[in-house]
């Protein structure tokens, strides 16, 4: 598989060399990176040797699946130009999201510098290989997402346009990659060192939220009849939009229409991506590399700061509310601090809060009806149960981090069961991030719907807490921040999110139904949830998280 991928680069040898890289070294570095990816997963799941392959397949399936949804929307569009324009826009957006959420760690990965830099390799070669690495994954993703679209395109507009579409997907990936490089460089220009890493984190969070919002708004704006007749008008600025280049190219070649505007599109499509990527390779990556190096060094020098003991009233309140034994308290205290400091944790978790806000607000804006209609119904239940999204993010974010080899600490301590540590961990993360946010939203809900909904706010809270605990205890019991974030992971996670959202829907709906049926539903639900929580936190966790289970996942050497 790896060799096959690498062979695909052979025709572009002259281009890679033109950008100032040594082709043989470039291929070797790329091979090294791909081999590492290939073997990484096995380190953690000792049982299955081809776990990595499985996740790759799972992820591809998920992307094809998503492609189906998208294609269903596209199938109604009649004109090829609009069809391909939207397809390319979708691809670009998806890739941008992917770069931001998954691949920025690869783009900024300096861990191999220790090994590669002392060797006589030009900086250009290293960074080109890094970009090519990302490119391979992006291209794979883009093709998976568009498989169905390609089939539809062939069916609707003929096999020639399908073929050209495939070709333009490749150009699109190149262009998006260039765009990401420019974007990151732009930010790196502005700040440096430790602040840059933090800024990048918040930037990524903002972008992720932005895309989610754009996607939601986009879905809401179209209605079916409009889609069928949708024809994109070509304005002067259309010539500046990359998706238009590609769809213009496809249209021109399939309809053999070579008028002025089509020629312009063709020229843009064929010239801009290669030139952009050439520009990236030749001029941007050296700057990028230099900035990256400063980042590394800046990290060492500027980071020395004194941490002061954190013992606010708020912390003490939450700590005594959530944990009771000394072991749990110790874990709670440590994790409270670490969740506030681990960058990767925040990077994974914080966007979710943005999503939650969008999910809460968007379905309720732009609808007709008075405000009093809005606040008289049960809409607040939806708002509250959207928080279930955070559950999943919390649990998976707790796993990811750079502390692969710190697990020995736990094993060398006289702990009867590791469960108390895991309990402290999830409760600390939950208390630190979830509670303040939920309190704020809960207050707004109480303010809008009246004090009478307070029990419901409380019930929703209990159910989210219950689900979060369950999720955390049922996922693989890796010690916090001990799992490496790999390039191949995203897809299967998204599947779980879907399942969880369905669950949230069910739980919320049951709550709603009970409220409709009789007035004292709360009196049943509150004790029910409380006893369930007691069971999960007091009994189940000790059965589920045992040393036997934990030893299977963690490595103590």
């Amino acid at each position: 598989m790896i060799n096959l991928i690498l062979k695909l680069f052979i025709p572009f040898r002259w281009f890679i060399e033109k950008m100032g890289a040594d082709y043989d070294q470039f291929i070797r570095i790329l091979k090294l990176k791909l081999t590492l990816d290939d073997r990484r997963a096995n380190k953690y799941s000792k049982k299955s040797k081809n776990a990595q392959e499985k996740t790759l397949i799972k992820q591809s399936f998920f992307q094809i699946f998503m492609g189906v949804f998208f294609a269903m929307f596209l199938i109604m569009i009649k004109t090829p130009f609009t069809f391909f324009y939207i397809a390319h826009t979708f691809l670009m957006a998806m890739m941008a999201m992917m770069i931001i959420s998954e691949f920025s760690t690869i783009l900024f990965d300096t861990s191999e510098n220790v090994i590669i830099q002392p060797l006589p390799i030009k900086g250009n070669t290293i960074s080109l290989a890094r970009n090519a690495h990302v490119f391979i994954y992006l291209a794979m993703m883009a093709f998976c997402l568009s498989v169905v679209t390609i089939i539809i395109a062939i069916y609707k507009f003929g096999s020639l346009s399908g073929l050209i579409f495939v070709f333009t997907i490749f150009l699109n990936v190149l262009f998006t990659l260039f765009f990401a490089n420019i974007l990151y460089l732009g930010i790196m220009r502005l700040v440096s060192g430790e602040r840059l890493k933090n800024l990048l984190m918040y930037f990524q969070i903002a972008i992720a939220i932005f895309f989610m919002a754009a996607y939601q708004i986009g879905l809401r704006m179209v209605d079916k009849t409009a889609i069928q007749e949708m024809v994109l008008p070509v304005h002067w600025f259309t010539y500046l939009l990359p998706p238009a280049f590609f769809s213009g190219l496809i249209e021109a070649l399939t309809t053999l229409n070579f008028d002025q505007s089509h020629l312009l599109f063709i020229a843009e499509a064929l010239v801009v991506p290669p030139v952009a990527i050439y520009f990236t390779g030749k001029y941007l990556t050296p700057v990028f590399n230099r900035k990256l190096m400063e980042l590394e060094q800046g990290d060492r020098v500027t980071k020395i700061k004194i941490e002061t003991a954190h013992k606010s009233l708020w912390y003490r309140m939450l700590s005594s509310l959530f944990v009771h034994t000394t072991e749990e308290k110790a874990a709670f205290k440590m994790m409270w601090k670490m969740t506030g400091r681990e960058r990767q944790f925040k990077q994974t978790l914080l966007p979710t809060f943005g999503y939650v806000i969008i999910m809460m607000i968007l379905p309720n804006v732009g609808k007709h009806g008075s405000f009093s209609d809005f606040t008289s119904g049960y809409k607040y239940l939806f708002i509250l149960y959207v928080f279930m999204m955070v559950s999943f993010a919390l649990c998976s974010a707790l796993l990811i981090g750079n502390n692969q080899s710190s697990a020995w600490v736990f094993k060398s301590m006289p702990l009867k069961s590791p469960a108390s540590f895991f309990k402290g961990a999830i409760n600390a993360a939950f208390a630190r991030y979830f509670i303040p946010f939920y309190l704020a939203v809960g207050t707004v809900v109480c303010f809008l719907w009246g004090i009478k909904v307070m029990p419901d706010v409380f019930i929703a809270f209990l159910s989210v807490y219950l689900i979060t605990s369950l999720l955390y205890y049922f996922q693989q019991p890796g010690f916090p921040f001990s799992l490496e974030k790999t390039a191949v992971q995203g897809g299967s996670n998204a599947m779980k999110v879907f399942a969880l959202m369905a669950l949230a829907g069910v739980v919320g709906f049951v709550h709603y139904l009970l409220l409709r049926w009789f007035d004292f539903a709360n009196l049943i639900l509150i004790p029910l949830y409380c006893s369930a929580i007691y069971y999960v936190n007091g009994i189940m966790v000790y059965r589920k998280i045992t040393w036997k289970e934990v030893d299977r996942v963690n490595d103590y050497s």
Partner: protein, 259 residues
């Protein structure tokens, strides 16, 4: 208290797949001793230490520590044991104080008590001013010191160390050496693996040399020396582990360059 057997290992074996790392180790360790555990790379030193600390649980043979079975009373034993791992891997985003507070509290010490002890220990290593800085900024030696301190928080009777001196500067090596001797005087038992032959030779009451998963020499340096008359431990080490042709090998190494 002296001369009490506190660790007893009977026919300890351990496999990693088909590879047998430990092939039947028998040892008795008495309290108040410093035991140097030496052997070539891959001989099974770290594996032994990890088994004794309860990090590796699937092994064959019997181990009794403080008269208790390691398999059954793991927790009791862990309570009285301190472990200093080889690679200084710590939670980087914490400060030493926070890390030690966590370790101490998990072991059941009070917060104040832990903090007090941590400050004292770190002060000995001249790291008091670093107590509230993140570990991420520390050098390898500083991390090693943090590890040593956090293993001593609960005043263990038996201390296992895996290469405790790696990464420490000369001053710190001397200090750790002194510290080990002091601890042994207090009746504590120290079992440590090392590659530094001169250190092992000087401070160990007893030296255990293993090769390919078996004990091949055991006794104080003087005792061992009587049997063989080697000048120093290094010479004995190379003779016993079968690498006497260093000269030839070095030559072959140089020849490899010339081609």
């Amino acid at each position: 208290m002296t001369n009490q057997i506190i660790v007893e290992i009977r026919n300890l074996r351990k496999n990693y797949g088909p590879k047998q790392v430990l092939q039947g180790i028998d040892l008795e360790i008495t309290s108040g001793q410093i035991i140097g555990y030496i052997g070539p790379n891959g001989a099974g030193k770290s594996t032994t230490v990890k088994i004794l600390c309860g990090l590796i649980t699937d092994f064959y043979g019997d181990i009794t520590i403080f008269g208790k079975d390691l398999r059954k009373d793991t927790l009791e034993i862990k309570r009285q044991v301190g472990y200093i791992p080889e690679n200084a891997v710590l939670y980087e985003s914490l400060t030493p104080l926070e890390f030690m507070e966590f370790v101490g509290e998990m072991r059941g010490l009070g917060t104040e008590q832990t903090r007090d002890k941590a400050e004292k220990l770190m002060n000995i290593f001249e790291m008091k001013q670093n107590l509230n800085q993140r570990i991420a900024t520390f050098s390898k030696g500083m991390r090693q010191k943090v590890l040593i301190c956090s293993a001593l928080l609960h005043n263990p009777d038996l201390i296992f160390m895996d290469e405790p001196l790696s990464g420490l500067d000369a001053n710190s090596v001397i200090m750790v050496k002194e510290m080990l001797i002091h601890l042994a005087h207090d009746g504590k038992t120290i079992f440590y693996s090392s590659h530094l032959m001169d250190v092992v030779e000087k401070i160990s009451d007893r030296i255990i040399l293993i090769d390919q998963g078996k004990v091949i020499a055991d006794g104080s340096f003087d005792e061992l020396n009587k049997l063989s008359n080697d000048e120093n431990l290094e010479k004995m080490f190379t003779r016993l582990t079968g690498n006497t042709d260093h000269g030839e090998k070095a030559e072959a190494f140089i020849n490899a360059f010339e081609k």
